[in-house]
């Protein structure tokens, strides 16, 4: 499983295929504002990126997917705990 719930955060581990979007969204909708640790993730599918863009969780640390880190690092800046969806 590439999406994992830990006590204080959600961890994306390894490549995150399209199905992970649903798991990730479900976890974030259940607990808005929970940080997502994407430092160990691999290639993110667009659907997963879309969930991060839409639900804007805090994203501490650099993204493990170099493409996303290079081009979509701004996702991290917009995500603040207050930015979580209500």
């Amino acid at each position: 499983m590439s999406v994992r719930r830990e006590p204080d955060r959600i961890v994306l581990d390894g490549a995150c295929p399209v199905e992970d979007a649903e798991t990730l969204a479900a976890l974030l909708l259940a607990e808005p504002g929970l940080p997502v640790d994407w430092t160990a993730c691999g290639r993110l599918h667009t659907a997963v990126v879309q969930v991060l863009l839409r639900l804007a969780p805090p994203l501490p640390g650099p993204c493990g997917d170099p493409f996303v880190a290079r081009w979509l690092g701004s996702l991290a800046k917009q995500g603040t705990p207050d930015g979580a969806v209500d």
């Binding site: 649903e22 667009t46 659907a47």
Partner: protein, 650 residues
């Protein structure tokens, strides 16, 4: 240049030349129906090639010309000097486009106007061809979004960018298996990327997690061709804009445009490679002459040191000549991948036009074949694939009822077996019903009814390749117009190959296109029969055994023996070739072939590496001959075809 464009240009030049020749022949003999057909096919093929790209005006011109010629073919339009002049003018315009495409990758500026005039003179658009994607391929004004995005991205990003893209994936694209950012990842020259919601986000809800609501805007230094290639399958969702060089902030961007790592290549006329290959073949044969001399020097009692030196020199020359032959041979080889990849788009378009879903898979694309064969294979293969989409794969409803997945599958596979390459097109469709073939052949009057009634399944299936079997007169963008499977068989025969079909009712149909063996350096086993020496390709030989004559027993009309517990038919080579057999030795020498038969020879004389030429002249008519080569002492050696020997035995 886009690697799809390059083969197109080469092919288009040839087709234009051939169509010009055919038009001139038609002018000389206006009543010649075959000439009208040839000209029509020339334009049809050109249109098929252009249809792989997004050049709507060019496609429209060729479609209009094809309509005119179709009318001429049907007798509805006179083949007069006016038509021939118009067609030649059309070819001139197509030739100009081809050269512009070769230079810039796109149609010449202002071609649309000329195209419209030509279409009108051909009688106006009748069935308009595919409208093409929304984006205008001709350089037009740069849209505001691109200008604004370039400005917002800053000089560093915008300065070198050559292409801007706005890509709005369809909402259901995730379900179709698309990964839109995955396409963007394939642009090495990306300089700016923006990802934004296409519409304001609705209230968060799990239900629409898989609805894509994104718009991707980007700048890249990749060439227009490379960008077009990346977004090829989603052209309806992407707007691609070539940025004018003037907008580049850095004035010296041109030299920096191409990365230094570009592959170094040299274009050489294929005829010169052929000449080179022929010369290397001669060299290999000449070296065999030296081998012969070296052997004689040993036998004639020449000074031992001299004979050994000669043998060593000969061995070195042999290695070098062999390596040279392989290298030159490889120059002539082109991976089949080059044409395999060109089928994805037509399959998608044809399937979409028919409301079907078809997945094309390819395997063995790395298999190399002679350049001329690869290029000549495109058209017949496209035809077979089109046929599979159209007639093989059933509509989704019918597939569901048959318990098959809704999406049909077509597998395009190349494999090398022995010296030959087989390209197969296998669909998982309904199969061909031999009884329907029989009915259709009767309706078309292809053969007398009593002959049809007596035919077995294999013979019936073969009728689908008969001229006049397919006369479907549907007029569409790329679909058949009575250019039937007979054209496939003719094309393969021209290449020196053949085509066959296998089918299973309800399970699918496989077309096998067998390509001619390439002229290659072969290792031959030299055998003697009837006092003559013959060559057998060593790859077809699994063993040589000597058996006592009393272990050969009569089997039917021939003979057989037991080898490793299996019954193996034995054919006497001398008798088979109609030569007088020598006095039988106590033991029989048998060469066992991979096909499971044994050939009795009088003597095995060793082996020889040599370039085998395809049979020509009188030899070509002999059934068991695969080719010839020249021996070291100047004699011609006939090389036998093991598969023909095996077939003859069955």
């Amino acid at each position: 240049m886009n690697d799809l464009v390059e083969p197109f240009v080469a092919e288009a030049r040839e087709l234009i030349q051939a169509a010009t020749d055919d038009l001139l022949a038609l002018e000389a003999a206006p009543g010649d129906g075959a000439a009208v057909n040839r000209v029509f096919r020339g334009f049809h093929t050109l249109k098929g090639s252009v249809g792989l790209f997004d050049w709507p005006p060019l496609l429209a011109v060729l479609h209009a010309a094809e309509e005119s010629l179709s009318a001429a073919r049907a007798g509805a339009r006179a083949v007069d000097p006016g038509l021939i002049d118009l067609c030649l003018e059309t070819l001139d315009a197509v030739a100009r486009c081809t050269e512009a495409i070769a230079g810039s990758g796109d149609l010449p500026a202002g071609f649309s106007g000329e195209a419209a005039r030509l279409v009108a003179r051909h009688g106006g658009p009748s069935a308009p061809p595919e409208p093409g994607p929304a984006s205008a391929p001709e350089a037009g004004p740069v849209p505001d979004w691109a200008t604004a995005f370039a400005a917002a991205s800053g000089d560093a990003a915008a300065g070198l960018a050559r292409v801007a893209v706005r890509y709005r994936p369809r909402a259901d694209c995730f379900f179709a298996g698309d990964d839109p950012l995955g396409l963007v990842r394939r642009l090495p020259g990306l300089t700016a990327l923006d990802l934004a919601p296409a519409e304001p986000w609705p209230a968060p809800d799990l239900a629409d997690v898989f609805a894509c609501n994104l718009v991707v805007t980007l700048l890249t230094t990749d060439s227009r061709e490379a960008v077009d290639e990346v977004f090829r399958l989603v052209r309806d969702q992407a707007t691609i804009v070539t940025l004018p060089a003037a907008s580049a902030a850095a004035p010296s961007d041109e030299p920096a445009g191409e990365p230094a790592a570009a592959p170094r290549s040299l274009r050489v006329d294929a005829a010169r490679i052929d000449d080179l290959a022929a010369l290397v073949g001669e060299l290999v044969v000449a070296r065999n002459g030296l081998a012969h001399l070296a052997a004689r020097a040993g036998e004639a009692g020449a000074e031992a040191g001299f004979a050994r030196a000669l043998r060593e020199t000969d061995a070195r020359l042999g290695r070098l000549a062999g390596a040279l032959h392989r290298e030159v041979g490889a120059l002539r080889l082109l991976p089949l991948e080059r044409i395999f990849r060109r089928f994805a788009r037509p399959v998608r378009e044809i399937a979409r036009g028919l409301g079907k879903e078809v997945a094309l898979t390819t395997a063995g694309g790395g298999t190399g074949a002679d350049r001329a064969v690869v290029e000549g294979l495109f058209e017949p293969l496209l035809h077979v694939i089109r046929n599979a989409v159209d007639h093989g794969i059933e509509p989704a409803g019918e597939r569901r009822r048959a318990g098959k997945p809704e999406a049909g599958r077509i597998a395009l596979t190349a494999e090398r077996r022995g010296g030959t390459i087989t390209v197969s097109v296998a669909d998982d469709g309904r199969g061909i019903d031999p009884e329907r073939v029989r009915r259709r052949a009767r309706e078309r009057g292809l053969l007398p009814p009593e002959r049809l009634a007596a035919m077995d399944e294999a013979a019936l299936l073969d009728l689908i390749f008969a001229p006049g079997f397919s006369t479907a007169e549907r007029v569409g963008d790329l679909s058949g117009r009575g250019v039937g499977l007979d054209a496939v068989r003719t094309a393969l025969a021209r290449l020196g190959g053949r085509v066959a079909v296998e089918t299973r009712a309800g399970a699918g149909t496989t077309f096998r296109l067998v390509l001619p063996p390439t002229v290659a350096l072969s290792r031959l086993l030299l055998v003697e029969a009837g006092g003559e020496t013959y060559g057998l390709p060593i790859e077809a030989v699994t063993g040589i055994v000597r058996v006592a004559r009393d272990r050969l027993s009569a089997l039917g009309s021939g003979r057989a023996t037991i080898l490793r517990g299996r019954t193996v038919p034995v054919i006497g080579l001398a008798a088979r070739l109609g030569l007088p057999a020598g006095a039988p030795a106590a033991d029989a020498t048998l060469v066992v072939l991979a096909g499971g038969i044994a050939v009795e020879v009088e003597r095995v004389r060793g082996h020889l590496d040599t370039a085998v030429r395809p049979p020509s002249g009188l030899l070509a008519a002999l059934p068991d001959v695969a080719g010839t080569t020249v021996l070291g002492d100047g004699r011609v050696l006939v090389v036998l075809d093991p598969s023909a020997l095996e077939e003859g035995e069955r």
